[in-house]
């Protein structure tokens, strides 16, 4: 558990800094530091066990079906990296407290830093490779936040985007590679994969897996040709750069190469790709670094170069090279972090990082200067510092990597790389700190507060101590980490300053001398170099991104041009294509189910339906006619339901039909009554073809289904309807009981639609819509008698009767066709009739409640009925019923489902009436007609409308 906590603590602790910043910057930094420190202590508790050779493991299932487990393990290598991340992190936190200015939001900074730290720890301690990938992408995301921390700087934002695109993209490639690896080995746990190296290397999937994983590792570790993002990430505050580029982010790729070294290393492909890329990166980046004037850019490229060095060592795939790699990771972390911090101090104090404007700083800031000189000497590889030791081991390893065809290639280039390394390290020392004091610094420098240089001092002390006593201080750590990689087969090596006169020592001497000579010739060499053409990586990257963005833009504007008709057309075509594809691949034969005989009544209805459909298409521009024809079609559909054993559907369909038609008529009152012909003939032909195609496809599908037998789960519902649900109308029992939860969702949707209608129409009473309404004049002739006597009387007499019918349909719904939906529609129609016969104003005066409140009550009642089941310890919406004996009435069944149905009833009434009542509000606004006051609502004839159909 505590191992998982090591990773989780920084994530959990990340919420603290933004809160604690209110108590001041020092408190904030202290809290952040203690989070990291706690994590470090938790980690080190495991150290004794790990160095005894045990491997602590902790695992929880997460998504077992995907092979994703929340599992961590710590071996010597993981422990080494985790300790590095936390220890350097602690120094960074202290340094940042003094580096960040008063205007920088420090809480946010520490929050991001802890997130990033947790993600890094996740990478190095994950056992499950999929979990590792999650943390891998999390480092990309959190480093994006860190690099772009100064949001106001465009370079910061661009650098952050570039880093995210490159490393995130590489992470995706690696995901594919890891999945392949999991397929080969049959496990996603590193502890199991690591033992199956031979199986993996023999697999035909080895090469694709290797390439994909390397793509991820190389992009993360900024290996050539992905080296370009790292310098742009330098726009980040210096503590971030120091952290990302010394111990974390870019080391993740290096870490992964080491982690998978036992599995992937040892083939020719590995040697050529990894070793070759490392070598090329080391030399090219060192060459670029030498000529960078910006100190952080110089250090960034030197980081790339050193990462190339480590990659090359992994690529050699010899045990000795692996030990050298581990040792150099440690050494590089110490001196590079220190150097970045000194660069940050210079920037902080002088307000410039340009090497051309600096020099002589050693006299003005002696502490910083001394520390920087020692660290850069280590980077150059001068004895007796730790950089010297690992560089010697690197040269030694390179001396043994001699492919027969080009025996001198690797040692020669390695020496040249070391030579360049000496040159840029010396440049950092000489051009910045040595030389005469100048009088044109942007700001007169002096040593910073101790908080800034103390972390540097700690690191430099390590640089010296490891250099002097390598075996005592670094020996066990290096041995433990290497042992974990090599699987207990440590080579014969000795961490020491003096190995005698060896070829490596000679190469080192050549490199040092050559590097100093190169620096002496710096300006002439630079003039030559400046004259040569150089590809600018950022420009290429930007061009690619821009090209992709513009292509995407053109594609989306081409398809998505605001023409809704076109979208619908695309949609129809896509569905047709899908159907055709299915048709091609599926069965085509007609089924063998016994067909149902059709009587002549069915034939007549069919003909009417066809005529209706054709009529609608032919006369759709005459909107009244089309609307009436549509309701005719709806009527035939309800008759079909009735005929085909679905009385409930027939009742619902016919009542919905009435309501819909009335609603559309009311809306049509304000819309143009005719549509102008505006589609071209070609367009109509195209649409007609699409329509006929769709119709034919659907007819064929339905026919194919109908002529086949089927199995259904309904036997259960039929069996249980009476004993389990207490009703004989199975459809209603399904609605309010078996599938009550669905119905609950549906009435909520209906309620939302009702409220949306309310909002839309309420809004029409303001703004341009209201002005248009005020100008509106009826474009149809009005009847002289607006509220004829007979309908008025008839509807009023019928209202109680209709309500009675509604109640009856509601109550019998559980056993016979009916129920909440249907009775709600019947009641709504009864109310509507009042609006139609006696006028909107008259009806409105007599309805004393808001319909949208009714919707709320309906949903509430249905929901509370469902919750009621909880009181009895039953799941949501479990219904109960029992039979009660009442005097006179006899035995009566009472079911909670009826209360639920009441909720359905209220919601549906509310939703229907809210639409109609609000439409009538609009109508009253547009055409104020006096509300009749007399009992017999005879309305006097009104004059002919002034304007007619020619519109407004």
């Amino acid at each position: 558990m505590s191992l998982a906590l090591v990773v989780l603590l920084p994530f959990i602790g990340a919420i603290l800094p933004p809160l604690m910043i209110r108590s001041g910057r020092t408190v904030c930094a202290t809290v952040t530091g203690s989070v990291t420190l706690s994590s470090l202590v938790l980690l080190l508790i495991h150290a004794p066990a790990v160095y005894r050779g045990e491997v602590p493991v902790v695992a929880y299932e997460w998504l077992p079906s995907l092979g994703l487990r929340f599992s961590f393990f710590a071996d010597g290598f993981g422990l080494f990296f985790a300790a590095l991340i936390l220890a350097i992190g602690l120094l960074i936190i202290i340094y940042a407290r003094f580096y960040l200015g008063r205007d920088d939001p420090m809480g946010r900074f520490y929050c991001y830093l802890l997130l990033f730290q947790g993600a890094m720890l996740g990478i190095v301690l994950s056992d499950n490779v999929l979990l590792l990938l999650i943390f891998w992408e999390l480092t990309s995301l959190s480093s994006f936040l860190l690099i772009g921390y100064w949001r106001h700087l465009p370079e910061g934002r661009q650098g952050a985007r570039m880093a995210l695109a490159v490393t995130g993209g590489g992470g995706l490639a690696m995901l594919a590679g890891m999945l392949l690896l999991g397929q080969i080995t049959g496990s996603y746990e590193l502890t199991e994969i690591l033992g199956q190296g031979e199986l993996v290397r023999a697999s035909p999937l080895y090469l694709p897996a290797l390439l994909l994983i390397l793509l991820g590792a190389f992009t993360k570790s900024a290996q050539f040709p992905f080296h370009f993002w790292l310098p742009h990430a330098m726009a980040a505050p210096t503590p971030v750069s120091a952290y990302l580029h010394s111990a974390t982010m870019v080391k993740a790729g290096i870490f992964l190469l080491g982690r998978l070294w036992p599995v992937l290393a040892g083939t020719e492909a590995w040697f050529l790709i990894v070793g070759g890329t490392g070598l090329v990166t080391m030399v090219i980046a060192a060459w670029i670094a030498l000529f960078k004037d910006d100190l952080k850019a110089l250090l960034a490229f030197s980081t790339v170069s050193h990462l190339g060095l480590v990659t090359m060592l992994w690529g050699f795939a010899t045990p000795f090279a692996a030990v050298a790699a581990v040792f150099h990771i440690l050494n590089h972390a110490t001196f590079k972090c220190a150097l970045f911090m000194t660069a940050g101090i210079v920037d902080h104090e002088v307000h410039s990082r340009d090497a051309r404007r600096l020099g002589g700083l050693l006299h003005l800031m002696p502490i910083t200067g001394t520390l920087a000189l020692v660290a850069s000497a280590s980077m150059a590889g001068l004895p007796p510092l730790n950089g010297f030791l690992s560089k010697e081991m690197m040269l030694e390893a390179a001396g043994h990597a001699r492919p027969p065809a080009y025996p001198w290639l690797v040692p020669g280039l390695a020496t040249f790389g070391a030579l360049l390394s000496v040159a840029y390290s010396a440049r950092y020392a000489v051009h910045v700190f040595l030389g005469p004091v100048r009088d044109d610094y942007p700001q007169h420098p002096h040593d910073p507060p101790a908080g800034m240089w103390l972390p540097v001092a700690v690191l430099v002390a390590l640089v010296v101590l490891i250099g002097l006593f390598p075996a005592a201080i670094a020996g066990p750590i290096v041995a433990g980490a290497s042992d974990a990689i090599l699987g207990g087969a440590l080579p014969d090596y000795k961490l020491a300053l003096w190995h005698g006169i060896t070829p490596a020592l000679l190469m080192s001497a050549v490199a040092t001398a050559g590097g100093l000579v190169l620096l002496a010739l710096f300006w002439p060499v630079r003039a030559v170099r400046d004259a040569m053409p150089r590809p600018e990586a950022k420009r290429i990257f930007d061009a690619i991104v821009l090209g992709a963005a513009n292509a995407a833009r053109r594609a989306s504007y081409g398809l998505h041009n605001g023409q809704l008709q076109r979208y619908v057309m695309f949609f129809v075509v896509s569905v047709l294509v899908l159907i055709l594809v299915g048709w091609q691949t599926g069965r085509l034969d007609a089924g063998t189910r016994e067909p149902l005989a059709a009587g002549y009544l069915a034939g007549i209805a069919w003909l009417l339906l066809l005529a209706g459909c054709i009529g609608i298409v032919a006369y759709h521009r005459q909107r009244f006619l089309a609307l009436i024809l549509t309701s005719l079609v709806g009527l035939i559909v309800s008759l079909a339901f009735l005929y085909l054993s679905a009385p409930d559907l027939a009742l619902t369909q016919i009542s919905v039909e009435v309501v819909t038609t009335i609603l559309m008529l009311l809306a049509l009152n304000f819309l143009p009554k005719e549509t102008v012909a505006e589609s071209s003939v070609a367009r109509r032909l195209r649409d007609g073809a699409l329509a006929l195609g769709s119709g034919a496809a659907f007819a064929a599908i339905v026919h194919d289904v109908l002529t086949r037998d089927f199995t259904s789960i309904s036997a259960y519902h039929l069996e249980q309807s009476k004993p389990g649900g207490g009703g004989t109308n199975v459809v209603n029992v399904i609605l309010v009981d078996f599938r009550g939860y669905d119905t609950y969702g549906e009435i909520i949707v209906l309620g939302i639609a009702g409220l949306a209608i309310f909002a839309l129409l309420d809004g029409a009473l303001r703004g341009p819509a209201a002005r248009r309404l005020a100008r509106w004049a009826p474009d149809q002739p009005r009847a002289a008698d607006l509220h004829p006597l007979i309908p008025v009387v008839a509807t009023r007499v019928m209202l109680p009767l209709a309500l009675m019918v509604g109640v009856y349909i509601f109550l019998r719904g559980h056993n016979l066709p009916g129920g909440g939906f249907i009775s709600a529609l019947v009641v709504a129609i009864a109310l509507l009739m009042q609006y139609m016969a006696s006028g909107f104003g008259w009806a409105e005066q007599r309805i004393r409640f808001d319909y949208h409140v009714l919707i709320g009550w309906g949903v509430l009642i249905a929901g509370l009925t469902g919750l009621g089941a909880w009181l009895f310890g039953l799941p949501f919406l479990t219904s109960g019923f029992d039979y009660f004996h009442f005097p006179v009435v006899g035995e009566v069944e009472l079911a909670t489902a009826a209360i639920f149905d009441l909720g359905v009833f209220l919601t549906v009434v509310g939703a229907v009436m809210v639409a109609l009542a609000n439409l009538s509000r609009i109508a009253r606004r547009a055409e104020p007609i006096p509300v009749p006051q007399e009992p017999m609502d005879y309305t006097a004839p009104v004059p002919e409308p002034a304007t007619t159909a020619e519109g407004r």
Binding site: L546, N550, R553, N561, G562, L564, Q565, R593, P595, G603, L609, C613, I616, V617, H620, A626, L627, V637, F641, Y643, L644, S645, A646, P647, D648, L649, T652, Q653, V656, T660, A667, L671, T675, S679, D687, L690, G695, A696, F698, A699, A700, V702, H703, S714, L718, S721, V731, I734, D742, L750, A753, L760, L761, A764, P768, A769, P817, V912, A915, L919
Partner: protein, 116 residues
């Protein structure tokens, strides 16, 4: 009967799709209503066709048609009503706001400045 229902659904779909592709809101609304009929009948037909066997339990009767598609279609009808009324009102409001009942806005202009 199967043939009649299948071709009926086909006719509803065809007329619905044709109206859906028209340019004015009212035609589109009618088209959607027709498509709703088609889809509801289609769903209902998944329980196959049967005459005279409504799913209402009676003593001594053993043959019932499949009640489940009916229950689904019943709510579907009500939801279609909700949808239809919402778009009717939406179309009305849009017409009142703009004075035009065409479904499309003016075609979007090509972005005149490329991202840079």
């Amino acid at each position: 009967m199967e043939f009649l229902v299948a071709t009926g659904v086909g006719a509803l779909t065809a007329s619905g799709v044709y109206l859906l592709l028209r340019g004015r809101t009212f035609a589109v609304i009618l088209g959607l209503a027709l498509l709703s009929y088609a889809v509801n009948v289609y769903l209902f037909a998944m329980g196959r066709l049967a005459v005279g066997v409504p799913p209402i339990i009676r003593d001594g009767v053993t043959a019932y048609t499949d009640p489940l598609p009916q229950a689904l279609v019943l709510t579907a009808i009500v939801i279609s009503f909700g949808m239809t009324s919402l778009i009717v009102i939406l179309a009305l409001r849009a017409y009142l706001e703009t004075g035009d009942d065409h479904v499309s806005a003016e075609p979007l202009a090509e972005p005149d400045d490329e991202l840079a």
